[in-house]
């Protein structure tokens, strides 16, 4: 994957003596020491990560973790104290005012938590704001492009309204259209949906994913909400007190949290909507029956008895799932002189790999045996027993310590 934005050893010190604080940091002093000795706040401490082209990269953290500072350093609304920020091959931290302005006009745009629409401009003029500032296109083209951007977020009819006449969700759509109108390489979204109520927030997330499916833009999304991060993020960086403590895919973060802080995000988070069947499916502690031309009922029966199991899962040579058999069904088929196919149980059905845990609780609970999990090619991934499911769901309430 091609790296679009590369953040390399970036620091931000808030206060009047950033150099002093930097030298203390380099000598290994802690952030608390620096604050108590010279009153300087370390906002971001040695952050390094790469953001790939076309991905949604979520920076997550509690308030005060430095995530908003981090994203503002990407377009230098906040000046980094030290470090390099590469957009393609250009170090943004080194640009002069005019070069920076060109980057802001053409390459990086931003969506804000407070919407920050200009109250004196119509919705259409707000969307065209960036084009107007650049002053490079004619008025007709500007209006055309603004209308196109409005159309993409479904607000073409509201172009002449003033922002305050729209609801919060609609205002943020305008904010999104304003950012998209300049067709930027990178879209920064600072808690863009946090001010919206939950229903609208989900709707906006879907909207963003829909737009992203068309554009494949590089998006840096700031959030304090794990549900949101997991839902829209291709990868997630977690920040704690100015440090980037973990960068990874949602699965990696959930399954191998770097520390207790990362784990603490799951507290109170509804794991059943985040984890899917494939995340918890287990391959061990089960009996697989490889179905070949000579796999008969008696060999299957023997296999189950040897492993002391009541049920066995039948797959073909290339691991495609066929079904589940029990000792009883095998014996019954044997007595009727039938083949293995006739011993397959009608229940339970296999579970699709991407089913969230919340949707399969009743399937697992009511099935006579643990259901199998298959991927979209029908391959067997493992099974989910009642015990496995309970353990997985327990993560959300269980004390991580």
């Amino acid at each position: 994957m091609k790296t679009k934005l590369s953040v390399q050893n970036v620091y931000k010190i808030f206060g009047k003596h950033p150099k002093k604080a930097m030298s203390l940091l380099e000598r290994g002093k802690s952030k608390d020491d620096i604050f108590s000795s010279i009153g300087q706040t370390v906002g971001v401490n040695d952050a390094s990560f790469d953001i790939y082209e076309g991905e949604i990269f979520v920076i997550m953290g509690l308030s005060g973790s430095g995530k908003s500072t981090m994203v503002r350093m990407l377009n230098r609304l906040i000046e980094p104290t030290k470090g390099k920020i590469f957009l393609d091959d250009v170090d943004i931290a080194q640009l002069n005012d005019e070069e920076l302005r060109q980057i802001r006009l053409h390459k990086i745009s931003m969506v804000f938590q407070s919407f920050a629409l200009m109250p004196h401009l119509s919705v259409r003029d707000n969307v065209a704001f960036g084009l107007d500032l650049a002053g490079e296109v004619s008025e007709t083209e500007r209006i055309e492009r603004a209308n196109a951007a409005l159309d993409r977020v479904g607000l073409l009819a509201n172009g002449d309204s003033l922002p305050k006449e729209l609801s919060g969700g609609m205002q943020q759509r305008v904010g999104l259209a304003r950012a998209l109108c300049i067709n930027p390489d990178v879209l920064l979204m600072d808690e863009a949906f946090s001010a919206l109520d939950p229903l609208i927030r989900t709707e906006m997330q879907d909207e963003l994913l829909r737009l992203q499916a068309e554009d494949k833009r590089t998006i840096v999304f700031i959030s304090h909400d794990l549900d949101e991060a997991v839902r829209i993020g291709d990868r997630i960086a977690i920040m704690q007190d100015g440090d980037v403590v973990q960068v990874g895919t949602p699965d990696e973060i959930i399954n191998q949290p770097a520390n207790d802080y990362v784990r603490s995000f799951f507290r109170g988070v509804d794991v059943s909507t985040i984890l899917t069947a494939k995340d918890v499916a287990r391959r061990k502690q089960q009996t697989l029956i490889k179905k070949t031309s000579d796999t008969g009922l008696s060999t299957s029966l023997q296999l189950l008895k040897d492993n002391d199991r009541d049920f066995g899962y039948v797959v073909d040579a290339s691991n495609h799932y066929i079904g589940v058999v029990s000792i009883d069904s095998l014996k019954q088929a044997q007595s009727k002189q039938q083949s293995l196919e006739h011993a397959l149980l009608k229940q339970p059905h296999a579970i699709d790999a991407d089913t969230p845990l919340g949707d399969l609780i009743s399937d697992v609970a009511q099935a006579p045996c643990s259901p199998a999990v298959i991927n979209d090619q029908g391959k067997f991934l493992g099974i989910i027993s009642k015990t496995i499911l309970l353990e997985a769901l327990d993560r959300q309430t269980g004390d991580p310590l």
């Binding site: 745009s109 804000f112 920050a116 629409l117 200009m118 004196h120 107007d132």
Partner: protein, 313 residues
């Protein structure tokens, strides 16, 4: 420049008087009543007199140059207002009121202006109006950039603010004399006095209005690549406009309230009618002038107020 000689003579006596005082008062200085010394321990009044007298002859030519454009604009506006037939002005102002505010105010200003004419104060009112408009024009030209500058520098605010306070609170009579000394009595001096008294609200409210523009809008504008100039003209000034208009409105009102005082330095107009009325104990003419000022003030106030609030919507 016979004046110079006269003052010069007095300066000598001043010096001897100071010398005298040091001899006379020092031995009998009573620390329990330290401030009873005649003329004060620090002779501020004498110092000011001396400074003004030294500076005026030097600065007079410079101030005459400053007076030139003011006189030019003032006379132009006055000539224009007096040349246009009164009915046209009445209708034009009423239409202006109709455009920027409500119909009631349009009707009110029509009736008001008509009554100014009917009570025989029309020409005086037009003279006063030209004076006020000229003052307002210069107040905006000076005040708007000043306010913008103050909005960008806290240090500038800490320096300029006491000056603005002084301009608004110093009794006009105090600077009336030095102004007349450098500008000569007349309409230009009247405009200058009015500017000093009336300019602070534009400056203060421009500063305030720009500072009150929400920080997140400034941040958003910067994120989309505004240059400092675009930020000012496309975001800060439009959003500060209602507040700035409130300042303009205040400046206009203060300007009108200055016309009577200005009439003391030979400025013609409604103020002079009032002053003459007081001087001759003629309540009739004072009432005509006073009523003219009030009507003019209300009309101008309502129209400018609505310009501000209309933008606000």
């Amino acid at each position: 420049m016979s004046q110079d000689n006269a003052w010069g003579a007095q300066q000598e006596t001043d010096a001897s008087y100071l010398a005298d005082k040091s001899q006379v008062t020092e031995p009998s200085f009573d620390w329990t009543e330290p401030f009873t010394v005649d003329g004060g321990i620090i002779p501020l009044d004498d110092l000011v007199d001396a400074t003004i007298n030294a500076v005026v002859p030097v600065l007079r030519p410079i101030f005459q140059v400053i007076a030139e454009p003011i006189a030019w604009i003032l006379n132009g506006i006055e000539a224009l207002l007096l040349w246009i037939p009164a009915p046209f002005i009445i209708v034009a102002l009423a239409l202006l009121a109709l455009k920027f505010s409500t119909r009631a105010i349009a009707i009110g200003s029509f009736v008001g202006l008509l009554s100014i004419g009917l009570i025989g104060a029309w020409d005086a009112a037009m003279t006063t109006l030209s004076l006020v408009i000229t003052s307002l024009f210069f107040c905006i030209i000076i005040g708007l950039p000043m306010g913008i500058w103050l909005s960008r520098s806290d240090k500038a605010v800490s320096i300029v603010r006491p000056i603005l306070d002084a301009m608004q609170t110093t009794p006009a009579f105090v600077y009336l004399i030095p102004i007349v000394m450098v500008f000569s009595p007349g309409k230009v001096a009247g405009v200058i006095v009015t500017i000093i008294f009336a300019v602070p609200p534009v400056i203060r409210l421009t500063n305030l209005g720009i500072r009150q523009v929400p920080a997140d809008l400034i941040e958003a504008a910067k994120a989309f690549g505004t240059s400092p100039r675009q930020l000012l003209f496309k975001v800060q000034l439009p959003l500060a406009l209602p507040t700035i208009m409130a300042g303009v409105n205040q400046t206009l009102m203060l300007g009108l309230s200055m016309v009577v005082i200005a009439s003391m330095i030979a400025v013609p107009g409604l103020g002079l009618m009032v002053l003459q009325g007081i001087g001759r104990n003629d309540i009739g003419i004072a009432t005509v002038g006073g009523l003219g000022i009030v009507i003019l003030a209300i009309i101008l106030d309502r129209i400018t107020q609505h310009i501000g609030s209309k933008q606000h919507k």
